[in-house]
């Protein structure tokens, strides 16, 4: 297999103006979280049946709703974008980890 990326090509692409222009041209996600609980819809087929499982997480901490988008994958593992290198078996552990890693967003506990 011949190398495709050569050093000159890389150097040109790496220039900050080019990198910034490229990034600014990417589709931008809305930098705010939509209102409402986090919902995951999982679907599959089994023995001729169509299965749809909808999971919704509504989280509050100290009586305040937490806008954290908890999702669950097809194996039942929980994850959220705020902690992209984590996966959880427990929603409670997910929220514990969010509090531990984003203490400023939760204020002081009791």
């Amino acid at each position: 297999m011949d190398p495709v990326i050569d050093p000159a090509e890389l150097t040109a692409a790496a220039a900050p103006d080019g990198l910034g222009r490229y990034l600014a041209g990417l589709p931008m996600p809305a930098m705010h979280h939509p209102h409402g609980p986090a919902k995951t819809v999982r679907t599959t087929e089994y023995e001729g049946h169509r299965i749809v499982v909808t999971t919704t997480y509504e989280v509050s901490v100290d009586g305040k709703q937490v806008k954290a988008d908890l999702r669950v994958d097809d194996n039942g593992a929980l994850y959220c974008h705020g902690l992209p290198n984590y996966q959880f078996a427990s929603a409670l552990d997910t929220v514990r980890a969010l509090i531990a890693n984003y203490p400023d967003r939760f204020g002081g506990g009791a």
Partner: protein, 333 residues
Amino acid sequence: MPVVRKSIVTDQSSRDDYVHGVGLLKQEASQFTTADFNIPGPTALVHTYDLFVIWHGLTMMTPVPPGGNPYARNAAHRGPIFLPWHRVMLAVLEANLQRVLGKAGFALPYWDWSADGDLGSPTGAPIWTSAYMGGQGTPIADGPFAFDPADPTSFTVRIESDLNGMLAQTERGLNRDFARAWPAGWPTLPTSADVKGALAFAPSGGNPVDRYDTLAFDASSKGFRNRLEGFIPQSPTQPVHLHNQVHLWVGGDMAPATSPNDPVFFLHHCNVDRIWEGWMSRYGRLYAPDMTAPAAIYQGERIDDPIVSPLGAGGTPRGVMDISAIYAYDVLP
């Protein structure tokens, strides 16, 4: 002439250049502002180093396939594109460091975290001393990346993420919080035995590329990529491994989607890239999925799909598997 990447712990020249170069990129103003990237708050100048923080954060919100669910699989994580995308990111950073240092021969160093893992994951290992990356703290108080609010040239975190990975502005020091217990973090680093286990991993089945990754090419699939990324083996007693485990062990700014805020991010991923190179030296430059995988599900993960990078159409997994014209490693695992 390819450069040779070496361990930061044993190559003090690359350590000094890396620290100096990161400082230069942190101070170098780009022509872009936070408004160009839809980051809320007052419009602020974006510095070159922080373009990499934004790149990582935006890519994490880029779904694979387009229009899909970025929480399940994004253009840099939770799928086979994980290794090629980060390879490109490191190479782009390395090119910028060469530019600001005026040293075409500069090579990005790596941190072999498994060597520290073998020693019991000491929080006082050489890399965490003030001569290298500094230690832990909120914010860290020693080393070249310590924050001084009275010194505008000190290392400042300017872009962070919220609970959902959305980018936000800030102005503060760099945070690290080593070896916390689960679920806040993880108490140990991976060991060399863990790395060897990933390199030897072979799912059942006769297709050679299955060693790299398998259906459904996501955070649950079997293969070397997902072992190294660290979502498998799924276990109630250890939910994180290798790459993910290192992020959790370092903690602080290494936990969110804006983890390139910590210069250790690049040393960590350079080691991940070195392990991938070691795997390819064993088994060949294999990658899955190929272009027979349906675009409706896998576009952005396939071997000839463009990587989300400024390299353009030529920047594909196939195009970066052999990067011997750009760099090599002094030692492969």
